[in-house]
Structures are given as C-alpha cells and as structure tokens.
Amino acid sequence: MTPASKAMLTKIVVGAVWLFAVVWPMTGITPQGFEFGKAISIVGFAMAAVLAGLGLWKLRQKLDAAGFKPFTALANRCCGMPPWLWRGLLLAALLAFPFVSSRYGQDVAINVLVYVTLGLGLNIVVGLAGLLDLGYIAFYGVGAYTYALLSIHYQLSFWLALPLCAVMAAAAGVVIGYPTLRMRGDYLAIVTLGFGEILRIILNNWMQLTGGPNGLLGIKPAAVYLPDPENGWEFVRVLLKSPEAQYFLVLAIALFTVVSVRRLADSRIGRAWEAIREDETAAAIMGVNTFALKLLAYSLGAVFGGLAGAFFSAKMRFVSPGSFTFIESAMVLAMVVLGGMGSVPGIVLGALALIALPEVFRDFENYRMLVFGAAMALMMLFRPAGLIPAKRVGRRSEEAHS
C-alpha cells in the first residue's frame, strides 16, 4: 500500500467516525432508548457515495491520461456548425416542444424558463459585475406584486403593465443599490440579504396593500388579439391561460433576456462590468465610473427579475409572500454558480439542472434541498468556475488582495 493511499484510507476512516459521532446523537437518542440502525445506514450510505466518487475521480484521471475527451470532441463538432444552423435548430425544438410534450412537461418547461430569466438577470449582478446579491428574489417579488396590484385595481393589461413592472423593479434596484453598493464583497451579500428579508416582512404585514400572508387573488392572465378563422378572420381577444400559451409567453421573455444579456455582456458596459469584477480599484483608475456602472448592473439585473415576476403573477393569478423567501434567492444564485458565472449557456444549463432534475427524481423530493446544499459546496471545491465556465474570467479582485 502506498503512503498516499494509506493517508486516504486514514482520512476515510476518520471521516466515517466523525460522521457517526455527528449523526448518531441526532437519530439514535430517543426517550425510548438508544438506536443504532439509522445512523449506521446513513454512515454506510455516505461512505459508499464517497468511495464511488473517488472511483469516478480515479477513472477520469485515467481517461484524461489516455487522452479520452468525448465532450471536447463533441463541443468541437458542434462549434463547427454554422451558428445560424444550430440556433435555428434549437429555436425550432423550443417552438415544437409544447406540441410533443405532456401537460406536466409543459409545466416543468415553464418553470425552467422562468428561472432562466431570473438566473440571467442575477448573472448581470453576480456574474458580470461581481457583486454578490443574496436578496435578488426581492425584485421578482416587486415585479409580481406590481402586476398583481395594477391588474386588480386598475385592470391594466399585461402588456402595458410589463414595462411598468420592469421600471418598478429597476427603481427598487436603485433604492436598494444606492446605499449598499459602497460596500464590497461579503458585507454587500449580508445587506442585500437583509433587504430581501425586509421586503418579505413588509409584504407579509402590509395588510391593506398586499393582503398579508393570504396574498392577492383575482389577477388577470395576459391576453392577445388573434384572428379567428371561424369568425371571418376577425381579431378576438384570447386569454393566455392554457399551458401552451403560457409556455410561448415565457419563452419570449426568456429569449429576450438571453439576447439582451448576451449583447450587454459584449457591449462597452459589459466590459466595464467585467473590469469592475476583476479589480475595482484598477477599473476606477482606468476611468470606469464604478459607482454608476454598479448601480446600472443592479437595476438592469432587477429589470429581468421584474419581468419574470410579472409573468409569474399572470400565470398563477395569485401571489403571496411565501413565493419570495431567501431559499428562492439561494436557488437562483445556485443556478448561476452551478452553470458558470458570467456564462449564458451555463446558466441555462444550471436552471435546467436545478429545476428539471428534481422533477425526474420526484421520489426523493425530501432530499432535494439536502443534495442541493451539498452540491453547492462540492461544486466550489471541485469546479468553482461552473459547468460551462465563462470565456473571459480572470482572478477575482479579492484573491489578489487577501
């Protein structure tokens, strides 16, 4: 046995003992007496998982050494295709999806697209400008409640309300951003978290406006005018209530977000954000107006949150503060981190992974958040740049200083 594998064995044994010491008191001490079965099975399961992981790791190292890289080969082949071709194919697949999928599949797809929008919005703040925001879901809430209130009290149509929701969310972004953006790093994180909580508490308690924990009912769905072939092609008002219609609506919002974020990232503004992310002091010296640009990142990120929120309340026709908790913020952040900060395809993949995968493993519903937390920590240990890393990423500013 080599010293390295011996050290590994010691580590595994120590880990198993520690896990038992941590798990047994929680599961095994009952007023009826002591019980060991549960703790032993948990430790056994965890050890099996660790060993399987180690095996896969070793296998991958061997494959890498042998020069076996199927994903790189696949990626190269795909990149060989002209962009319009695969974009067209992708769009066709997205448009065809609701006609081939079940009702359930459509619901999942709508959810994924909502989170794609949210993830890309947060990506502007976290991925491009490098500002850690733990209260992003507040903007989703602002958008949702804005549309809900406009629809209930003023019967405003969805299409007129949508820009208003975006404006309200952007205003909220400025209000929250202005006092907080002078802080950096983890202080910013905790303050944004505080703001997110404040908003939720207000939504929960301002009974006259928001209906408190009971939420708001009676929100109108979006409507469009479509020619009706049976009525001599006269335009009639159609409510977008069916899952197919909602799917196309949210697909439009998500595609708009994808295009906007890609174009923003490649613009002058996007470059400036990336400069701030890499080294704020250096960016300021090079003439980047860091404060204004950070505020812009914050409010533009909020805009997409607001759009997603407006869609959410039009779709559910009901909003309540329970949909805007911290765990939702953490979810969206996890998508961005898991997919790859600053990378648009990565975040789409992240949203798909975090929303669609749990649906596949429905039977393990209870373990969803457990696995999610562990995956977040493991991801930071083994692949901090995400599944599809962004192309332009340097060392983060904090690294250089600490």
């Binding site: 007023p31 790093g185 905790i190 308690n205 977040m376």
Partner: protein
C-alpha cells in the same frame, strides 16, 4: 416605568442569546474573513441536541431527581457536539478553499447551511419539538415587574460563558495564539502557532457558544424548529457587525443592542415589524460606520 424595566429584563435576556451567537461570527470573521453562513445551523443543532438529551434524561427519570446536573450535562454534551460538528464542517467545506476566492468560500458556506438545515429537518421532522417543561415556571417579584426563573438561568449562563470566553481569549496561551492568528496568519505561523489548528478551534468555540444559545432559546421559548437558525443567525451577524466585526467585546455589546432594539420596538412601535428594525440598524451601521462601534481600522478589501 415598571413596563420599561420589565422590557429591559426581556431585552437583556434576548440580547444575551444574540451575543452568544454573534461571538462565533465575529471570531471566525476575525480570523479568516468569512461570513460563516452555517453558524445559525450550529445554533439550531445545539437547540435540538438539548431537547434530545433532556427528553432522554426526563424519560429515564434523572430529571426529577437531579435537574441541575442534567441541565449541566445537556449543556456540556450539546456544546461538545456542535464543536465537533463545526470542526468537521470547517475541514470539509472551508479548509480546502483557504486560497480560493472569497465568493467561493461564501457560497460553500451557504451550501453547508442549506445542507445542515435540511439534514436537521430530515432527521428531526418539520414540526416544532417541545422541551420538557421541568424547570419551574415561577418568577421572582421585584417591585412592579417579574424575573422568571428561566430568565435568571439564561442570564446566569450567558454571563458565565461570556466571562469565560473573555478569560480564554485575553488571558490564556490559546487565546494569545488566536489573537496572533487573527492579526497576521503568516506571521503567527512563523513564530510557531499552528494556524490550521487555531482556526479549527475557533470554529469549535464559536459553535459551542452558539449551541449554548440554542439550548437557552429552546428552554426560554419552550420549543425548537429545524429552521430556527436562519433569522437569529442574520440578526446575530448584524450584532457582530454593529459591535465591530472581529471584536469580542463588540459582539457582546452588539448582541445586547440588537436584543434591545427588537424588544423595545416591539413594545413601543410595532410587533410585526420588529425584525425590520434589526436589519435597518445593520444597514445604517454598515453605511455610516463600517467599522462598527468598537471595530479597529479596517482595510479596503474587508469593507
């Protein structure tokens, strides 16, 4: 006046709970500049460990015969449990990231927090768990206001732990090593301090204090819940920042101020919005004096 004094006693009790949690944040931040998001979960785990141990001892009949010994044992074991838990978490999720970017460690901590919270939920259930109500519900009448026995116990234990920690940090060799590591890790290593060990111990001490706070909260309010760590965790962090992060006396002071804000705003302004006031204080402090009340000078990267 009596109403005010009554609220003051309540505020001191609550502030003590926050101070105990805040110490863990401030010590960890002082030494490795990390907001340990999982810290609130150590608090919750401590509360659960307390109820598990006390319920077991209650069922065996020890509680009726020797309540004080049982309480002491529950405190010691729960604190030891959380210390071990925290050392393991540090080893798995934070230590390999010592040289990684701050964002990575923060996200890893967030992941650990979610993991631990759901671990608690899966092993203990989603419903409140009630503490055995063995300790006398009575109160001492003092003029126009009451101090319940539980408040006396809570204030006593909090005071004991705070004094003990102060002695540990400022009077012992270990405390000296901790302060040295917090000041300059490389330099401390050069003069023979094992910084990895010190960091590990810092996590352990912080988690043990949080665990004590968890049991006290459980005893005081009568029950614990798997997600009880989240909001007190943020408020305790606010307390740590308010007092000046990295400063131990500051965390104690900050805890008391946050506790008072909460109780007095609930008593005199609005009960529903009491949590908002704690957050507003946090934001105002970070905006107007980022170093906190007792904070030392802070360099650019930290703020």
């Amino acid at each position: 006046m009596d109403f005010f004094l009554q609220q003051l006693i309540n505020a001191l009790t609550l502030g003590g709970f926050y101070a105990l949690i805040a110490l863990g944040y401030t010590m960890v931040y002082g030494i490795i500049q990390l907001i340990n998001f999982a810290h609130g979960e150590f608090f919750a785990a401590g509360g659960y460990m307390g109820v598990i141990l006390l319920a077991w001892m209650n069922s065996q009949g020890y509680m009726q015969t020797h309540p004080w010994i049982c309480l002491t044992i529950a405190f010691v074991l729960a604190m030891a449990y959380c210390a071990i838990l925290a050392m393991g978490v540090e080893k798995i999720a934070y230590k390999p990231l010592r040289k990684a970017s701050k964002l990575s460690v923060l996200l890893s901590a967030l992941g650990m927090s979610i993991f631990l919270q759901n671990g608690l939920m899966l092993t203990q259930g989603v419903y409140d768990k009630t503490y055995p109500g063995v300790f006398a519900k009575g109160a001492v009448q003092m003029g126009g206001f009451n101090i319940t026995y539980l408040q006396i116990i809570a204030l006593g234990i909090t005071g004991l732990l705070l004094v003990g920690l102060n002695r540990l940090v400022y009077k012992s060799r270990l405390g000296k090593a901790m302060r040295a590591t917090a000041q300059d890790r490389v330099m401390a290593t050069l003069v023979g301090v094992s910084s990895d060990r010190i960091i590990s111990l810092t996590f352990a001490i912080g988690a043990a204090l949080a665990a004590a706070s968890g049991i006290l909260v459980g005893l005081y309010y009568g029950s614990v819940r798997y997600d009880m760590g989240f909001v007190p965790g943020i408020k305790a962090f606010a307390a740590a920042v308010l007092g000046g992060i990295g400063s131990i006396t500051g965390a104690m002071l900050g805890g008391l101020i946050i506790g008072m804000t909460e109780i007095f705003s609930a008593a005199y302004i609005s009960g529903e919005y009491k949590d908002v006031f704690a957050f507003i204080i946090l934001i105002a402090v970070l905006y107007f004096m980022p170093t906190g009340l007792l904070g030392e000078n802070i360099n650019d990267t930290r703020v």
